[in-house]
Symmetry: C2
Subunit: 205 residues, 2 copies
DNA sequence: GGCGAAACTGACACGAATGTCATGTTGATT
DNA sequence: AATCAACATGACATTCGTGTCAGTTTCGCC
């Protein structure tokens, strides 16, 4: 079999198994039996289990990263809110189309190797930073209310992560509707707009 | 040494180690060497490593659960927003005072045992459901805008989780301020209130 | 059809971690 | 100071997964 094809084949099977059983509960024996190859063959294509896993992990992170575009301001650029929506849509569609990969990242990638933990942490940190920058920009443009953008960024990131986790476990509902809900939540919160005036004074009697 | 004291001693040491290295990277040898006991002694007090870990996990979940009070409406009850604030404060303080336990739950508890995964998942599901009920109640009371409360609940839960994760890694800033920021984010979102009228029409031209 | 390279195989040696158990220690009681 | 029960010990057998490697098969090419 052709070199690349075989590699891909193993990766494909491994992805499924990792997504279902997680990193630790999956062993090389599981992978090779699914992929119908001998033990030795596995080690021809991958250094070891971790090496293979890393490749899958990199794949998700890369795919996600390319789907998150920086918010751009300027003539000819779409409304910031529309750019946000587009980002969310791209990410959500990917999650749905690659549930196994998403599961790996969300539930099984943390806590088995310090190096990879770091890798994932950095990834999220970057996204949080990106969100924060967008919020800061939004403030200077008068679109966003003054707030601790750092905390807000984490709230947004967390909210999206949690929804995605939910999405990857459950039957996929209407994506566009979901995106819209998330967007509104992030922009307006849950309070009735009519009450915001009073709520803004919360804690400052 | 007294029976309960020894147990507590082992638990205490194990907690530290689990928090730092995670479940998989920690082995019984690590625990007994820290706790200064012999291998056999360990098995006098715990069935095995998983048993001990479960005990710690139950501890966090229990501690967190008792700190989240159901929102109550009625004469003599504090404002809903104040009840929310109180919940957040209690949870956040606990997280700060028990960083090791929190770390275990947040980063190291998932993906090594299907049974425990389920346990944690159920825990979060319950909280999400609780949040959703509160939101539904808020809607009937005219405090909360109409929205998909399920999605909103996940956004809120996720936001809090992410902030907590951040909190448990970083130097603890002013808790009250943090709680206030989260609260406002959840209630009002990030958009400038003056713009909400336009934003509410997003996606419905 | 024979030759060499590349791909593949699976038995095996090895190391890591677990749980047990026969034995040793402690300390309270008579 | 003898006895006994509770507590503690650590050497050891066992299990499990890994990575290797000597040998086999496949395939393109002369």
């Amino acid at each position: 079999m052709e070199k690349q094809a075989r590699r891909a084949q193993v990766l494909r099977h491994a992805k499924r198994i990792f997504a279902r059983k997680g990193y630790h509960r999956t062993n090389v024996a599981d992978i090779i039996s699914r992929a119908r190859i001998a033990r030795g063959t596995f080690y021809l294509y991958f250094e070891n289990k971790k090496d293979l896993f890393e490749e899958l992990l990199e794949q998700v992170l890369r795919e996600l990263a390319v789907r998150i575009h920086r918010i751009r301001i300027g003539p000819g650029e779409p409304e910031p809110a529309d750019q946000l929506r587009a980002n969310l849509r791209r990410v959500m569609s990917f999650v749905l189309s690659e549930r196994d990969l998403t599961n790996i990242l969300l539930s099984h990638a943390l806590g088995f190797d310090p190096e990879l933990d770091e890798r994932i942490q950095t990834f999220y940190d970057r996204i949080a930073a990106q969100i924060q920058r967008s919020l800061d920009l939004g403030i200077t443009m008068g679109l966003v209310r003054r707030c601790d953008t750092r905390t807000a960024a984490y709230c947004i990131l967390g909210g999206v992560k949690e929804t995605i986790a939910q999405l990857s476990r459950q039957a996929p509902p209407d994506i566009d509707g979901l995106v819209e809900e998330i967007l509104r939540f992030g922009l307006s919160g849950v309070a009735r707009p009519e009450l915001l005036e009073t709520l803004r004074n919360i804690g400052e009697p």
